[in-house]
């Protein structure tokens, strides 16, 4: 029924603590590397950015695309993952 990946399910199942940015759904090794270079080395820093953008999916997707070159599927996966995590834990 759900179209989310295993990575997504793992991430939203528990508080993110110190998980690396590559733990986020949609963020693999390449994108993770690029984000770390920009200073977003942990998942919670990306969460911070998501929150500062007022949890606006469109804005966050644009930001993600500009920062690490994520394509639309990767953007959707990442923002969806963060949104669900926020719904549960924020």
């Amino acid at each position: 029924m759900s179209s989310t990946s295993q990575k997504h399910k793992n991430f939203v199942a528990e508080p993110m603590a110190d998980k690396p940015v590559t733990a986020l759904a949609g963020i693999g090794d390449v994108l993770g590397q690029r984000l770390e270079e920009k200073g977003f080395d942990k998942a919670y820093v990306v969460l911070g950015q998501y929150l500062v953008l007022k949890k606006e999916e469109e804005l966050f997707n644009d930001w993600l695309k500009d920062t690490c070159g994520a394509n639309s599927k990767q953007q959707r996966d990442c923002s969806g993952c963060l949104k669900e995590w926020c719904d549960s834990f924020l």
Binding site: Q49, V52, K54, E56, E58, L59, D62, W63, D66
Partner: protein
Amino acid sequence: MANLSEKTADELCALLDEYGVKHGPIVDSTRGLYEKKLREAMTKAKKSSPDKTYYREEEEEVVTYVTRTPVRTGPIGDSGAYMRSRPEWTEREYQNEASYSSHSRPTSDHRGRDYIDEPYTYSTPTSYKSYNLKSTPATYEDVKSPVAPLAPKSTGLVPPWFQVVFFLVVLVFLYIIFSSMESNEPMKGIE
């Protein structure tokens, strides 16, 4: 266009609100994104304004043509259906209308471009019989002169030369009908 990167966060905030861009606080990590969004909004706003002026110019053209018509003939009969075509046609049609009939339909209302209706509406004047038949020859020749200077105008729907030819054919045809209707005098025919 002021340099966006030199503006303060508050100024950027105000600009974003002006362009209707949804945004959060402007911090180090979000500034670049908002500057980009502002630039996009500005170029979009710039693009739409030139179109408006173009459209306005087009409207003005139509207006100038129409205002000439009252000068030509006195009582401009209603040309409800006649009005629909391009400016150069409306002028000629007005003259024919004045000589043929006085429909009581509002002139300014029908501003559309219906070429389909033209052939049908032309059959109606014939029912009005002898309205101003004597004036027809005068107006008929009068009509021919404005045709030449106005012909070149075109909006691309129907070729202008075709319109001219078609219109003249219709005029000739109607003139023949009218002249044949005169029962008192022998048919003057086509001179």
